[in-house]
């Protein structure tokens, strides 16, 4: 360990592994350490199942849960948008070669106590039970407008200025009611709160387009999920980093980030100090450089049946828009199963999560838990969310944000690209990944 590196990356969560891969690909000498014996940090998938029970002091697994090794349980529920930034990163870095994905079968939204399939194209809009007859037609016109909308071509704007017109004004223009606005903003544009309504509509229209384009890629839903769980993602990027020369040390406690004159010079583990010019880490490695910005509650539920009213989908997302249940933040339900090699035969893992708003977070997710049918085992966690106190430009310590309550990885990728830009002063150059040398011969 007593060597000099361009960068030391601490923690092997997804954010740090992508950054490590990008740095190695860019020719930096990287040391990547984790205090744990396993890859993934907070974005690990826990296996065997006995380890999850031990983590939550939950006794022992039931005989009908099969072999513990057949389970890989994510701690943080997320899906990949098929046309989103993470998929772009996976493809351009060649990391897709190590992974296999399945399309998530169902995308649902909650309205007045019931769940409905999210209608994303004009055909589905007309068949949807979410809206009355006239509202369907108005929504269809709105979808066609979004599909044809091009931010760079004012002819497609139809009197909507993406930089000036608010989203609320767009809803009014198309005569959409509150319920339709709720699922459009939350289940298609994937906003977690209603703040977007009074803001210019451009970004929201772009998000709806991304949903439509993601859906168009693989059909059933716009979401993808990797076989063996989300914990495969950090491992894939770690392998990329290693292939480009990154050095990996797990089970390596980091006692201190060492500074000279306010700038980082190394990382100490025991009596060893590895020297470096920069440190990239998750909040747990730099507790005095982050501040708490909120809390997320996540409830992992093991169930032995599909979620009711989802057409027996083997994988699902359900969004409960905040307005429908008198909240400020949406509640998300994700469900994966045997088909993704994450649970024993006949079992499903459902996760209910949201941003905490009250002193009794478990009561906040009750409406979500009630949609699941009988639950065989629950594991509840309330986690603090942290963000760095500064940009790291002086200290050269770049701290990532905690994984938020959103149901996909878009905000994680924004953080990755932003940190890379702050750390290296440049945008990541995808052309540095040479597919002909990376790949299969």
């Amino acid at each position: 360990m007593d060597e000099e590196y361009d960068a030391i990356v601490c923690g092997t969560g997804l954010t740090e592994c992508i950054i490590s891969g990008m740095l190695s690909v860019s020719g930096k000498r990287v040391l990547h350490v984790d205090r744990n014996k396993y890859y993934g940090g907070d974005s690990a998938s826990i296996t065997p199942l006995e380890d999850l029970y031990a983590k939550f002091n939950a006794g022992s697994i039931l005989p009908e849960m099969g072999r513990g090794r057949d389970w890989n349980v994510d701690l943080i529920p997320k899906f990949l948008m098929a046309n989103g930034e993470l998929v772009r990163l996976l493809i351009h870095t060649g990391v897709t070669r190590y992974l296999e994905f399945k399309s998530v079968e169902g995308s649902f939204v909650y309205k007045q106590g019931k769940i409905h399939k999210v209608p994303a194209d004009e055909k589905e809009a007309l068949a949807s039970g979410l809206m009355g007859l006239f509202e369907k037609r108005r929504f269809r016109n709105f979808l066609i407008f979004v599909m044809e909308f091009d931010e760079n071509d004012p002819k497609t704007w139809k009197d909507v200025d993406p930089k000036r017109t608010t989203m609320n004004e767009v809803y009014q223009k198309y005569g959409l009611d509150q319920n339709t606005a709720d699922f459009t903003g939350h289940a298609l544009a994937l906003h977690t709160t209603d703040e977007y309504i009074t803001q210019p509509c451009g970004p929201t229209l772009a998000r709806i387009k991304m949903y439509q384009e993601s859906l168009a890629r693989y059909g059933k839903s716009p979401y993808l999920y990797p076989l063996y769980g989300l914990g495969e993602l950090p491992q894939g990027f770690a392998r990329l980093s290693a292939i480009y020369g990154g050095t990996y040390m797990l089970d390596k406690p980091v006692e201190e980030i060492v500074f000279e004159n306010g700038k980082v010079v190394g990382v100490r583990s025991g009596s060893e100090v590895a020297r470096c010019k920069q440190v990239y880490c998750d909040p747990s490695y730099a507790p005095d450089r982050v501040r708490k910005i909120g809390q997320v509650i996540r409830c992992i539920c093991l169930i032995d049946h599909p979620i009711p009213n989802t057409n027996n989908a083997l994988s699902t997302q359900i969004i409960i828009p905040q307005n429908q249940v008198g909240r400020k933040n949406d509640i998300y339900i994700s469900c994966v199963s045997t088909t993704h090699q994450v649970a024993a035969k006949g079992w499903f893992i459902a996760m209910v999560s949201t941003t905490v708003e009250t002193g009794n977070p478990e009561a906040e997710i009750k409406v979500g838990l009630e949609l699941l049918g009988p639950i065989r085992q629950k594991f509840v966690s309330v986690s603090d969310l942290f963000a760095p106190t500064d940009l790291g430009l002086e200290s050269q310590v770049f701290v990532s944000k905690s994984y938020d309550a959103t149901s996909h990885f878009e905000s994680t990728c924004d953080d990755v690209l932003d940190i890379f830009k702050r750390g290296t002063g440049e945008q990541f150059d995808f052309s540095k990944v040479n597919h002909t040398t990376l790949g299969e011969e």
């Binding site: 396993y38 890859y39 296996t47 002909t436």
Partner: protein
Amino acid sequence: MATAARTSTGGGGAVPSAGKIFQFKLVLLGEAAVGKSSLVLRFVKGHFHDYQESTIGAAFLTQTVCLDETTVKFEIWDTAGQERYHSLAPMYYRGAQAAIIVYDITNHESFNKAKAWVRELQRQANPNIVISLAGNKADLANKRMVEYEEAQSYAEEQGLLFMETSAKTAMNVNDIFLAIAKKLPKTDPAGSRNPGQTVNVNTAAQNVEAKSSCCGGSTGATPANAAPTRT
């Protein structure tokens, strides 16, 4: 028997009409510097360098072996140096149907490490994995520290295939891959390593890549040893 290892031309295009193609993931394990990458480069490319860089620099290499009735395509994964500090990811073993555990016959400690890797695989990997043990650097027999008989009796005890090999002289290199190819069960046709339908993220993205990248679409044009090297 009319069997031979031969070079593939990528994408499985040059496969004889007779017989089915079976694809298998094969992982290499063993202590650093025992010659894991050299063995693969000898097998896949037919060459050897005295001072091979310490990483192979490729995601994985493929090579095809023709048996009498069938064709076996190996997808060979190198450790990319992650074994050095015991930091190999579980993903590495995931779905592997074959493994070659390599030690250096001039280094007894590397043989002890090989035994530890065997135990690790028996614990972590697919229970039906075909494991073979390769005592590499057999050309350096005058510096031998691991007796052939010692390794052979260990391999027998554990049910492993065993050969001494030399990436330098090519001794037994093709043979060990061929022996593995013969031992692997030929029940699943190529591409069915996982049950159920998965989506091909790469295929769906090809249009996007062709537009945005000037170097895309020429897989196989550059030799693997031109890959980035450890600095």
